[in-house]
Symmetry: C2
Subunit: 98 residues, 2 copies
DNA sequence: GATATAGTTCGATAAAAGTCGAATTAAACC
DNA sequence: GGTTTAATTCGACTTTTATCGAACTATATC
């Protein structure tokens, strides 16, 4: 696998981002990523099946909430906080405060 | 019909509110309500069936996003902006700006 | 009381989203 | 090349959510 392509800043929509956040697992992932620079999928796994988590990471990536950097066999996820702050100022602050 | 009971400020959850917002029709309703003091259901109907809209109003009410005042045969909906601003400061500003 | 109006509730259907095991890919390492 | 590790993809299934016509409730008006 080469690399993911992430949606551009301009293509992000409020509805898309809200849909990305509107799931308990994904909200938890996002909030966790608010407190660390980045995290691998495994680090956020808990006791859930990998395939479920992989699905949620995909949704988060496609809605523009996180970006994934591939290093060797690991995928490091981080919040697209700077982008999100520019596009939807204040949103991430509320989400991470909640 | 007597009156609706709306969830208390403390019982609102971020996830619940995000779920309420994560639908195109509901987001549109909320954003519209951001620009008017209140609106009846019919006023926001467009060309959609009443029963569908009634469902969305119920979801919005239960997630704490709006309150409904009954006056005669009409139901007037308004954003719970003050409550939401207190509970999730900044959230509504982003949503209404989007 | 009959009629009109505003909105809800019911119930059936359709569409969307989440779950998760099994198979697969891809890199790393011996 | 074989093995381990990290994560994805596939596909089948379940659950949740949305849609919307038809019947219903409640208020207002004549």
């Amino acid at each position: 696998m080469a690399e993911y392509d992430h949606p551009s800043l301009e293509s992000l929509t409020l509805l898309g981002v809200l849909r990305g956040l509107a799931d308990p697992i994904r909200l938890e992932i996002v909030q966790h990523l608010g407190s660390v620079p980045e995290a691998s999928c495994t680090a956020l796994l808990g006791d859930r099946p990998r395939s479920s988590m992989s699905h949620h990471f995909q949704v988060l990536r496609e809605s523009g909430l996180l970006q994934t950097r591939i290093q060797g066999v690991q995928h490091f996820n981080s919040l697209r906080k700077v982008d999100l702050d520019e596009r939807f100022p204040g949103l991430m602050d509320v989400v991470l405060a909640g």
